[in-house]
């Protein structure tokens, strides 16, 4: 049994409309694994949301480093203002070289005064901070690059 694009879309739609966090379908012909939320670390899947290519009249977009074999990009789980530290003047949650685990808080994304902690989602070493402190990050925009442990 094969899966068409339409089937996959239909499955995604059903998952979206339900409260299912994770779905695994396995039959003779194929296996499909769908999960919502944080990416599963060294997954071969590309990071979400290639940034749009429309010209930006504002400050240049942060450059988007390509993830190489050993590194993964931690994408922003939401649109908001990116903060590297809990408060102005406090030390950043992570610096380049820091070791992080899946639950390590790596930054805060502020949406209309709501502060949302973002976890790394992976284990490894931070090799780059991709977003600018205090600037808008979009959904899916890379925040950090982490060399996977």
């Amino acid at each position: 049994m094969g899966l068409t694009d339409d089937d996959v879309r239909e499955i995604l739609r059903i998952v979206d409309e339900s409260d299912v966090e994770e779905l695994q379908i396995q039959t003779e012909g194929f296996s499909l694994h769908v999960s919502r939320g944080a990416p599963i670390a060294p997954s071969p899947a590309p990071p979400p949301a290639p940034l749009a290519s429309a010209p930006a009249p504002d400050a240049a977009e942060p450059s988007t480093p390509a993830a190489d074999e050993d590194t993964v990009l931690v994408p922003s789980p939401m649109l908001g203002t990116f903060y590297r530290a809990e408060a102005p003047g406090a030390s950043p949650f992570v610096e380049v070289g820091a070791t992080v685990g899946p639950d390590s808080t790596v930054c805060i994304i502020e949406v209309m005064k709501m502060m949302n902690s973002v976890a790394a989602g992976v284990s490894g070493t931070v090799v780059e901070v991709c977003a600018e402190n205090g600037e808008l990050v979009e959904y899916g925009e890379p925040l950090l690059r982490v060399r996977v442990a």
């Binding site: 694009d5 979206d16 979400p48 949301a49 290639p50 429309a54």
Partner: protein
């Protein structure tokens, strides 16, 4: 006003980008991940990704939308239609943060969203409303329904746009349907108040386009007939409304302006009515606080750009014309080409377009975001394109649309093209005998 955020998608986002261009405004399109490569996003000065595909995590997040506007240096939000366009929370959050929201005052949005409050305002303004009233208890509902005579409609105070409506044919159904309606209304609209209204059947759906500025001017831009509907969703719309007695038209137009003035309306809006085709009596249905999908038929017959007008009014400008200066010419008909599969009960048919070709004809306007290679994502409504024909008269507009539809070619998704041809070619439609339940009857 310098830079406008458009947190919307599809043809209306393209439409608003074009209006911004006319006014030399920069535009930022707020798109979900599924629409980042869409036509509006490509046309915009900048695109910002609001969130993932499902609307509740992107287009329906007022906090994210306002944050996106502030973070990209926008001073204005044009919400389009659907999503948060009639959400008091987006309008107030935007304004609290110093942004211009293209739409009416929050008080008018709240009033229009509460169908019982809107009914009361209509009565105060002398606008005819359907006999009916709130049904807070089963006992009251039974009394009211007996007074009105079956069949009656049970409607949700927080509903609208065809949602939250139940038809009750006799007293034996009333109790169960009332409980169900209340339960569903509570779940869908966080407001379990319901009310009863007399059912007018058959009925025509006729609506009046209004425009008002903050300096107190209110005008109408004529009416539209949107009676060709399937499951309360409009399929074909036209202006002016055919087969409308001059007295009924005058009553409708006057009532819409009076209601807009009564509720302190500003910007563009629509006042919807049902008209009893036998007696010609109009009854108020609801106020829509947004640009409507079918606005182009009005634009065609009165030769005005309504989205430009919305932006100018939102910027504090005066309407710039009087009621007497609103002139009408010819007849315009719009049909909605949807990605739907007629063989599967018109279920949405998402996919990637291999071919999308609509012929170019004098008198035809096409509002669309579709092109070969474009994606129709599964998350949103299925509208692909609006085909709008403007002719000297109704027959000419019908002939033009039939000619265009015959040469329209879409591959990659299923469409309702043949349904549109069937509607426009039907003797009932051509004789302007269509009422709101006509299409479902014909399909059966």
């Amino acid at each position: 006003m310098r830079r406008v955020l458009i947190p919307n998608r599809g043809e209306i986002a393209v439409r608003i980008v074009n209006a911004c261009r006319k006014l030399d405004l920069e535009c930022v399109v707020g798109a979900s991940e599924a629409d980042l490569d869409g036509m509006a996003a490509r046309m915009a000065d900048r695109v910002v990704c609001l969130g993932p595909g499902p609307a509740r995590d992107s287009y329906l997040r007022a906090d994210i939308v306002v944050q996106a506007a502030l973070g990209t240096g926008c001073d204005t939000i044009h919400p389009g239609y659907g999503f948060l366009s009639e959400s008091p929370s987006l309008a107030s959050l935007a304004r609290e943060n110093g942004l211009t929201f293209v739409g009416p005052p929050v008080s008018a949005i709240e009033l229009a969203g509460d169908k019982l409050a809107a009914r009361a305002a209509a009565q105060r303004a002398g606008v005819p409303v359907l006999p009916g009233g709130e049904a807070p208890s089963r006992q009251r509902a039974r009394e009211l329904a007996t007074e009105l005579g079956y069949p009656v409609l049970v409607k949700a105070a927080g509903g609208g746009g065809g949602r939250g409506i139940k038809r009750v044919d006799d007293e034996s159904q009333l109790g169960a349907l009332l409980s169900l309606a209340r339960q569903e209304a509570g779940a869908a609209f966080a407001d379990d108040r319901v009310y009863l209204e007399r059912l007018v059947t058959p009925a025509r759906h006729v609506e009046v386009q209004i425009a008002a500025d903050e300096h107190g001017a209110v005008v109408h831009l004529g009416e539209r007939d949107c009676s060709a509907q399937r499951r309360y969703q409009k399929v074909v719309e036209e202006a002016p409304a055919p087969a409308l007695a001059p007295q009924t038209r005058a009553t409708l137009l006057e009532a819409a302006v009076a209601l807009a003035a009564e509720i302190g309306y500003e910007n563009l809006g629509t006042v919807e009515f049902v008209v009893d085709p036998q007696t010609g009596e109009p009854f108020f249905l609801e106020v829509n606080c947004r640009i409507q999908v079918e606005h182009p038929v009005t634009e065609a017959v009165c030769d005005r750009d309504l989205v430009v007008l919305q932006l100018r009014i939102a910027g504090g400008r005066r309407l710039g014309f009087s009621q007497e200066e609103v002139r009408f010419s010819g007849h315009a008909i719009e049909c909605r080409l949807n990605a739907e599969d007629p063989a599967r009960g018109f279920a949405p048919s998402p996919g990637t377009l291999e071919l999308f070709s609509v012929p170019d004809r004098p008198g035809l306007r096409v509002d669309t975001f579709c092109a070969p290679g474009a994606a129709i994502p599964p998350y949103y409504d299925s509208l692909m394109a609006k085909l709008i024909a403007h002719g000297e008269n109704r027959d000419q507009a019908i002939r033009l649309l039939l000619d265009v539809l015959a040469d329209t070619d879409v591959e990659g998704v299923e469409t309702n093209r043949t349904l549109l041809i069937d509607v426009l070619g039907h003797p009932d439609f051509q004789a302007a005998r269509v009422t709101t339940n006509w299409l479902e009857h014909v399909l059966r």
